[in-house]
Structure formats: structure tokens, C-alpha cells
Amino acid sequence: MIGAGRSLSIEVEHLAKHYGQVRAVNDVSFTAREGEILGVLGHNGAGKTTTIRVLTGRARPTGGRARVLGYDVVHERERMKPLINLVFEEQNLYIRLSGRENLQLFADLYGVPRARVEELLAAVGLSEAAQRKVKTYSSGMKQRLLVARALINSPRVLFLDEPTRGLDPTSAREVREMVREQARQGTTVFLTTHYMEEADELCDRVAFLAAGRIVALDTPRELKLRYGERTAVVLLTSRQEERLRLDDPLDAARLERWMAEGQVLTVHSQEGTLEDVFVNLAGRPL
């Protein structure tokens, strides 16, 4: 229930955002606790970015209510703004300015001491490149700078919109580690992503968004148990490999028969993946 519990950082109740006839977000409700990483997965246009826009006070909801850190995102957004931050989907940096100048700009806007800039540059490994213009940075360096910028005000709620999109595996891993570290320090992280593995690895809970609605919200493990398919890969003495659905009585009977006949060499059981869960719920893969 909205308003209950001090540890709730994000409280959303029947949130809706319509653009003309398009229902970008439609009757969405959820909460996020302090220090929790909440992942939101969905196709393009599912309403992920719109939800972030509303929760960061940059778009007025058409219906419902949302509170971030106890502040109404419409009526109290000016009080909320200094306490939150966002890593944008686009690498929206000032490319003619240096990395340091980019961070100093936002340090000044948030009223944060300049020492924080050097601290963050060191934290994201950009101290040596700090004087260089951002247009000379690699995509990974820009993304790390974006994360540093989003941490400039030590936000209590950090929104990340596709933070690892287009990054090489090493840079993506670095960004994920930074996110994890923030959550460990008590920051609530609201993350949208296209990558199932990322959501599975990072998030305490995951919400699946389809056509502006949340179709499932739980821990990755619970989602997989509830909606995923348990399967087993069986290698027979004939060197033939069979994939069986353990919840299917016919497949279970086949496995039992092969075992009785001594035809089974190995059996590997497999847990359902988030991808399977998403396909089951949304009808098509990401």
C-alpha cells in the first residue's frame, strides 16, 4: 500500500500516461525498496522509458499516482529532483567539453563540491582521460562518464535506461558492477534493459512490461519457477539427444521408460530462463 513503510523508495499506484490515443503506460502499480535493484523488461514501446520520464518528474501522468522517496512526482518534483538521478539511454554528453568539465557542470547544478568530480572520475577509471574532450572517448568511456554523472549527487534513487546497450562485454560488466555497488550502498536502482541475462544477474526483482502494463513482477527465481518450463536433456545409448518437458506427463513417462530399459546415458535438468518466461507472458521474445 502506498505510504506504508519507510523503506519504500518508489511507490506507484495505477499509473497511466497517454499520448493522444496511445496508452504508453496503462494502470501500472509497483513499489521498490531502499537498496533494491528493480528491473523492468519489455519490448520497444512497452512503456519503460515513459515510466522513467514520469517517475523523474519530466512527464505528467495522465492518471494514477507516483511517489519517489515520499515525494509526489507531480506536485513535489522540485524537492524530489536533487535526490534522484538517471543514466539516459542516449549518451547525452557535451562532446566539445572534457570529461571533467561535463561532471563539473552537473556538480555545480546540484550544488555538490568539486572534489566529488575527482572522486567519481577515479571511481569510473577516467582520471587520466579527464582533460580530453568527450568526443575523443570510446563508447565504453562515455557510458562510464554517464554513470559518473548520474552519481554526482549521490542519488538515493538511481534510474538507468538501457545502461549497457551497445557496450562491449567488458564495459557492460564494469557498468553492472557500478550499479551493484550503488545498491549495496542503499541506493534504490530502477533499471530498464533488453538483456535478460543482465536482469537475471543484477535485479532483485523483475517486472515484465507489455503494451504499457505490468504482466509479471517478482524475483527472477520466482518468475522462472512460476512461469518457466523445467526441461531435461537426455542423452541415450544410441547417442541421440532428447529434450523433455518435465511438467508434461507424456514426456515424464518417456523418460521413465528409457530409464527402465537402460537406454539413458546422461540426464541434465534445466531450469526455465527469464527469456522463456518473457516469451510465455509477452508472446514473443525480446
Binding site: 529532483k81 538517471l86 542516449e90 547525452n92 557535451y94 562532446i95 547544478l109 574532450k133
Partner: protein, 364 residues
């Protein structure tokens, strides 16, 4: 709105602008044109005619001084010494001089003695107004040299200029007139090209979204307005220094420039809100720039009354009038209060519309 945030964004804009070729072009192009004009044109009124006269003489004659007095302000003469008559004919032929005079030795004394010495005038095959004019004043000049009283005493009475009667180019000369045009170009380029380009880039590159996470849209717009106005206020004196533009009334010029910069930047910000891409800025800013520049070229020209009335509504027309008056130190264009009123009306309109748009955006 928060002043510390406006100041922070303004400083960022300034730092970024100095590395942005589009903004630098918007400033350097008018400065360059102003410099070029200042070398191309002189301070003299364009109606002042000039003529070069080749003279063959022994160097003792006072005839050239007397001719200069006779032509006065109507024709400014430059005398060039030529060694002999054949050379003089060649120079007239090749149009190196407009007209030639062969003054024999002892000419002045012979004239005074009433000996009627020969004075040869070499005219080109197609004499110009200037050469004919020199020819026409010779008779009077020689009579003056001979010390004869003119048949009538001619008294000149120069009337003071009628208020509003002279155009800037007539009153200030071509060089200063083009400096005024360069000032208008500079203000317009900064306002309707540099400012929208900077604003559109914020939208296009989504840096605006990062700024408005903490600042308000109004803070960002106010910073852009400050950026445009300061850039204008700094650039105009630079233009005046490099072009040796020397206004008679500095305070009046400053007031006109500051108010005009504020108005034009307001228009530029409105455009920046309408344009979505840099390509749109490049296309449409050119059209707006032409509309803003037109009055600087047409004011004072013999245009139909309806055109003049229409021009009066364009802010740069009023800017031109005010800065022309400031340069001349007198009211070349009367009713300065009307110019200020038109500019203030534009300022209220532009910033009022901006405020309305921002309010809608903030609510959106």
C-alpha cells in the same frame, strides 16, 4: 528559476560556444564583413565626386590651388605632376588621370600681366562629368589668378540639414553606413543562428533532458538568452574597434544595442523552440536573417510609403534608426521614442510567447 543554475548553464554555453564552429562563424562572419567594408569604403559622402588632374608645369603655378578652391566640395581634386605633354596625353588616354593641364612656364605672371598665355586642356575621347567640370571652372580660375573681380559677388548660404531628410549613407558616408549594416548582421546572426543552434543541439542531443533533471526548462532558456545577449554585447564593441567605428553618442548606441540584442535573442529562442533539427535551423534561420537584414539596406532608399510602413514593424529597422542616430549624434531618423516602443513591443511579445510555451511545456 534559480540564478545559480542559470549562471552555471550560461558559463557552460559560453565555454562550449568558443569550441563550436557554428557559433564562431556567426560572430566572425559579420566581423570580417565589417572589416572588409571599412577598408573598401571611405568616410566621405558617396555624393562627393573625385577627380585626378595631370599637370605639366614648372612647379611655380598657383593655378591648381585656385582650381581646387573653385570646385570646392562639389569635386575633390588630386593633382599629379607629369613631366611632359606626350606623357600627359598617354595618361589621359589610359584613364590614369581624368583630365590634363599643360601650364607653360611663367603662366601666372603672364596672366597677371594680361598677356593671354596658352593653357592646354587635355580631355579624354569621352569626357566624364569630372573632366567637364574641371574644364568648366578653368575660366573662372584663370580670372581669379589674374586678380580680376568676378562679374557678380556670389554668396553661399548652407542650410542646416532638415530633420529626417538625410539618410544614414548621406549623413555618415558609405563606410559608417556599412558598419551599421555589419552591426545589424552581427546581432541577427547571433540571435537567429547561434542561439537557436545551441538550443536545438541541446534538444537534438538530449542534453536538455539531463539539464532538466535538476534545472527547470525556464533556467535553461534564461541561460541561453543571457548567452545570446552577452555574446552580442561583447561582439559589437569588437566590431567597432576593428572597423574604427566611432559613434558620436556611445550611451545611445549601447542602449540601442542592448535592447535590440534582447529582442532578437527572444526571437531566436522562439525559433529554437520551433526547430527540431540543426538542418531546420540552417534552412529557416537564413530566411529570418534575410527578413531582419532587409531594413538595414532599404531604410532611406526611395521606397513606396507602404514598404516603409511595413519596414517600421521589423525590429531591426528600428535598431538601424537608433544606431544611425547614435553614430551621427543627431536625429537622422526622428521619433526615437517610436523606435524604442516598437522594440519594447517586440520584447514583450517574444518573451511573453516564450513564457507561455514554457508554462505549457512544464505542465506537459
Amino acid at each position: 528559476m534559480s540564478w545559480p543554475r542559470i549562471r552555471t548553464i550560461y558559463r557552460k554555453d559560453m565555454r562550449d560556444a568558443l569550441r563550436d564552429s557554428r557559433v564562431l562563424t556567426a560572430i566572425l562572419l559579420p566581423l570580417g564583413l565589417g572589416l572588409l567594408y571599412s577598408f573598401m569604403f571611405s568616410d566621405e559622402n558617396i555624393r562627393t565626386q573625385k577627380a585626378k588632374v595631370g599637370v605639366v608645369s614648372d612647379g611655380t603655378t598657383q593655378l591648381t590651388t585656385v582650381i581646387s578652391k573653385q570646385t570646392g566640395r562639389a569635386l575633390r581634386l588630386t593633382f599629379v605632376a607629369v613631366p611632359n605633354a606626350p606623357d600627359l596625353e598617354q595618361q589621359v588616354q589610359r584613364k590614369k588621370v581624368d583630365v590634363g593641364l599643360v601650364v607653360p612656364p611663367g603662366f601666372d605672371a603672364a596672366v597677371k600681366a594680361g598677356e593671354s598665355p596658352q593653357l592646354t586642356v587635355v580631355l579624354p575621347s569621352s569626357p566624364s562629368f569630372d573632366s567637364d567640370y574641371v574644364d568648366a571652372v578653368l575660366d573662372r580660375s584663370v580670372q581669379a589668378l589674374a586678380g580680376r573681380a568676378p562679374p557678380a559677388r556670389i554668396v553661399l548660404r548652407s542650410l542646416p540639414p532638415e530633420s529626417g531628410g538625410a539618410t544614414a549613407i548621406e549623413a555618415l558616408g558609405a563606410r559608417k553606413d556599412f558598419i551599421l549594416v555589419s552591426i545589424i548582421l552581427l546581432l541577427a546572426m547571433i540571435a537567429v543562428y547561434a542561439v537557436p543552434a545551441v538550443l536545438v543541439e541541446e534538444t537534438e542531443k538530449k542534453t536538455m533532458e539531463a539539464l532538466t533533471l535538476i534545472a527547470s526548462t525556464a533556467d535553461v532558456i534564461a541561460a541561453k538568452a543571457l548567452f545570446g545577449i552577452v555574446l552580442s554585447i561583447v561582439s559589437v564593441p569588437v566590431l567597432l574597434v576593428i572597423t574604427r567605428g566611432n559613434p558620436a553618442e556611445v550611451a545611445a548606441l549601447a542602449a540601442a544595442v542592448v535592447l535590440s540584442a534582447a529582442v532578437l535573442v527572444g526571437i531566436g529562442l522562439l525559433c529554437g523552440g520551433l526547430f527540431k533539427t540543426q538542418q531546420q535551423v540552417n534552412t529557416w534561420s537564413g530566411v529570418i536573417l534575410l527578413a531582419l537584414l532587409a531594413p538595414a539596406f532599404t531604410i532611406g532608399m526611395p521606397t513606396p510609403a507602404a514598404v516603409n510602413t511595413a519596414l517600421a514593424f521589423i525590429p531591426t529597422a528600428q535598431t538601424f534608426r537608433l544606431i544611425a542616430n547614435a553614430f551621427a549624434g543627431r536625429a537622422l531618423y526622428p521619433h526615437e521614442w517610436l523606435s524604442y516602443a516598437v522594440l519594447l513591443a517586440w520584447a514583450v511579445g517574444a518573451y511573453g510567447l516564450l513564457w507561455w510555451r514554457l508554462s505549457r511545456q512544464e505542465e506537459g
